[in-house]
């Protein structure tokens, strides 16, 4: 007597593919948000001569409350130079651009030490500014 093998349909349900892709996308978006500084609140200064900057390796933000952030993570002015130095590593000069995003109302006592820290870490300073609006 021959017994017929029962066949199981083992196909992946294609209906759920959209949902899976959607959740994966949300996951990666949240992951990317945790590393950048778009959540920080700062009002850029304006200048006549601005150009597009590439993709600098690091970004330093001094927000509207005068807090320092390196690549989106809060830090102190004393440790800024050391941390920036470890981010830049042994990258050759000319490729060590550091975005410097400072709220326009920040005073010199806060932003000048940060410029000094970038200089000590051997970073190439790039001020992030908005183009001056013509009236």
């Amino acid at each position: 007597m021959k017994l017929k093998r029962q066949k199981f349909d083992a196909s992946i349900p294609s209906v759920a593919m959209g949902d899976i892709a959607f959740l994966l996308l949300i996951f990666f978006v949240i992951l990317a948000r945790a590393q950048d500084d778009s959540h920080l609140r700062w009002d850029p200064a304006s200048s006549e001569n601005v150009a597009n900057v590439g993709n600098p390796l690091a970004s330093i933000v001094i927000d509207a409350d005068g807090k320092y952030f390196l690549n989106g993570k809060q830090t102190t002015i004393d440790s800024l130079s050391t941390k920036l130095g470890s981010v830049l590593g042994n990258i050759p000069s000319g490729n060590r651009a550091v975005m410097f995003k400072v709220d326009k109302a920040t005073t010199a006592e806060l932003f000048e030490p940060a410029i000094e820290a970038i200089s000590r870490a051997g970073g190439d300073l790039v001020h992030i500014l908005e183009p001056e609006k013509e009236e």
């Binding site: 597009n52 709220d103 326009k104 010199a108 006592e109 200089s119 190439d124």
Partner: protein, 145 residues
């Protein structure tokens, strides 16, 4: 036209879109907004600042042009200059100075100077052909027993 025919037409107009397409629509909308957000580049200005040194050559320092700024005034070599005239003043002072070492402009800011003002003044120095060097004053805390 009969009533039954009218009713039939209305029913045809109110057709729900298939619910299975909602995820695909949301997915495409997210991709659209992500692309829109990522194509907006940052604009700015690069600035070469020499590496910080504790002390500088005093004789060379005395030859350099010095720009001091505070929230109310800009002073170039001891003379008060209107903020819009800084570039013209520096151009006249830098005229004839060819070597990079002679084109150094020492920038000293009062603690209350805002970043907005600092960017305006340093932008004018660079436009005039000056090389910016910052003069920072360190605060030292002395504890007296």
């Amino acid at each position: 036209m009969s009533n039954s025919r009218l009713k039939h037409c209305r029913r045809r107009l109110l057709v729900d879109p298939p619910a299975s397409a909602a995820t695909d629509i949301a997915f495409i909308l997210i991709i659209f907004f992500l692309v829109c957000a990522s194509v907006q580049p940052d604009t700015g200005r690069s600035q070469t600042i020499p590496r910080s040194e504790e002390q500088q050559d005093k004789s060379r320092q005395s030859r350099n042009i010095e720009v001091s700024m505070s929230p109310g005034a800009v002073v170039v070599n001891g003379n008060v200059v209107a903020i819009e005239d800084v570039q013209a003043k520096l151009k006249s002072l830098l005229a004839g100075r060819q070597r990079e070492a002679d084109r150094i402009v020492v920038v000293k800011s009062a603690p209350a100077t805002t970043y907005d003002r600092w960017i305006t003044v340093t932008g004018q120095i660079e436009e005039a052909g000056g090389i910016i060097t910052l003069k920072l004053e360190k605060q030292k805390e002395i504890i007296i027993d």
